[in-house]
Amino acid sequence: MRISILSLIYKSPRLADWIHDSVTEFTPMIARREAQFTFVANDPTEECLHHLQSRGYKHIVVRNPHRSDEELFRLGFGAPEYMHRVYRAYNEGMRQAESNIVVLVNSDNYFSPDWLENLEKYLSQRVVVTSRLVEPGHPRHGVFPDAIAAAFGGTVDTFDRKGFLDFAEKTKETGLMVGGAYMPCMIFRSVALDAGLYPEGNLAGRSFDQVRRYGDEAFYDRLRRAGVRHLTALDSVVYHLKEGEKDDGPLSAERRKAPGFPPPVARPAPARRLEVVNRTVDGTATLGVRTWRLYLGEAGRRIRRIPRSPVEIARAILPSWAFNGLRGVWRAMRGKRVGDG
């Protein structure tokens, strides 16, 4: 078994069936026993656990300590409390995974043909690859940055399967984008373990309710510091209902107050599209746009950036505050010259 696909579940048999059916239909590697799909039953309800058992779905059970907000804050974690358990479960899933490659998905994801093959083809020890997400938007959380906004339903019942699959076929293209959404993602298990996995919660600021950094962002920060680049495969298209288990069924007043999924985070710049520009003789792919070169191979995979213009050299050697300051001065002077003219 080369690939372990992991999805959290805690209470919704309907979502369990939904994602199990979807991942099984669009992942022929499972039938070929090259990949396996496993639920991480995260503090599951009795009904949910019984459902997984009765259906014969492969699963592991994670029971979390329930910590108070104060305890979490002392540990450096912020709101909401349940994200502490979510990240713990993903980490436990990766620790227990039987394969060297792990794929993390959401239980409200719906897949399209070749989604997994097209993640794997770009995977390396220096890359974490994510799918191109399609989202309908959410009244509270909007659309995740870098996701495509297209509405094919917000619940299992209203999901427009044919509409999404047609859209995915028309949208997908070979290529990579720097950055992107955080899930579904594919990564070497050893790389994730070496990077330290997810922090066990969102990182708190000055108070529990003030989030300094969301947990998935912090995990990708750790990966980046370890030299692992975040890329999105433009030909791995996955739908995100954006209505997770919390939203599946009546919500308690307490849960209504808690944010469902980390809300959109402002990014400094739109992701850049990479282009396949060369191929090395040993069959590895070289991808890039002008100055970017990304080497994908079984060994010695690396990314390097070769500054070429004065601006790029300045950006490469100066701290960002100094570069931004200089750029501001330059723009101001240019504006003055234009005004003088």
Partner: protein, 278 residues
């Protein structure tokens, strides 16, 4: 825009998939552009490796090298196979001409079956068999078999020689694709590098086509013979092919949607479904 990235567009001046496709989709262009728009696609011939562009690409997995490697147990084609596998792996979509060849590539993702198409207006049954035989000095009163190929081992010319020795009453028409890979069958009517119109006439001189191939897939010449409604005889009856031709093989060609008119519609629908505009 549709870009056609061919290895050889028409090596012998014949009407190929590429020349036909360009006629049917007049805005399509040969070659690989520097950049692809969101509604563009490259039809990439597999031996060229992957289309080195960000955008939509379709790998045309028509080469029989994977079958040759399996059947002939040789690693002579591994470097070309590597390019083919790269093409299959990195292209947005993959296509093979028949379902039989798809399993060679399904580890790279889903594989769609699309016909290459055969010109059923050109390759068709002709009534004047006797006059055609006289035209090419082929005995009018003997049973005539035809074979088309090269000396490449996969074509199985040795089996033609065996068949000729086994049944001396059959007169053989042997058509060699080009001089570089041409042999000779003693006692037969040998032709080399014939135009497609002449090939149609030679098919119509014959009573049957001998399929001596060692590979499961039908060669293009076999599809063309079937379009002429020529019965197909097999040297190896145990070889699993895409289908067993009926006594009226032209019907099989139509049933498999290999006639160009149907093929054109299938290609157009397929490309439209991928968001390609032309």
């Amino acid at each position: 825009m549709i870009y056609l990235n061919a290895e050889v567009v028409s090596g012998l001046g014949e009407d190929t998939f590429w020349t036909w496709f360009q006629r049917e989709f007049p805005s399509s262009r040969l070659g690989l552009p520097r950049k692809l728009g969101s509604e563009d696609i490259v039809l990439q011939y597999s031996t060229l490796g992957f289309a080195n562009r960000s955008g939509k690409s379709l790998a045309l997995l028509w080469e029989l090298l994977p079958q040759m490697r399996d059947v002939l147990q040789s690693d002579s084609w591994d470097s070309r196979l590597k390019l083919i596998h790269e093409c299959a792996r990195f292209s947005t979509w993959r296509t093979t001409p028949t379902p039989l060849t798809s399993p060679h590539y399904d580890r790279f993702g889903s594989v769609d079956v699309l016909p290459i198409g055969v010109d059923t207006d050109l390759f068709k049954p002709l009534a004047e068999k006797r006059s055609l035989r006289e035209k090419f000095s082929i005995p009018v009163d003997r049973k005539v078999g035809i074979w088309v190929g090269t000396t490449h081992p996969m074509k199985g010319f040795g089996r033609v020689v065996e068949a000729a020795q086994r049944d001396p009453h059959v007169h053989w028409i042997v058509v060699w694709k080009w001089e570089a890979e041409a042999g000779h069958l003693h006692g037969g009517s040998n032709f080399t590098k014939v135009p497609q119109v002449m090939l149609r006439e030679l098919f119509n001189c014959a009573d049957f086509f001998l399929s001596s191939s060692l590979l499961p897939s039908f060669f293009m010449a076999e599809w063309e013979a079937m379009a002429c409604n020529l019965p197909i005889h097999f040297s190896d009856e145990t070889l699993v092919k895409d289908f067993v031709p009926s006594p009226n093989p032209r019907d099989d060609v139509l049933r498999w949607h290999w006639d160009r008119k149907t093929a054109r519609g299938l290609w157009a629908d397929y490309l439209q479904g991928k968001g390609v505009a032309w």
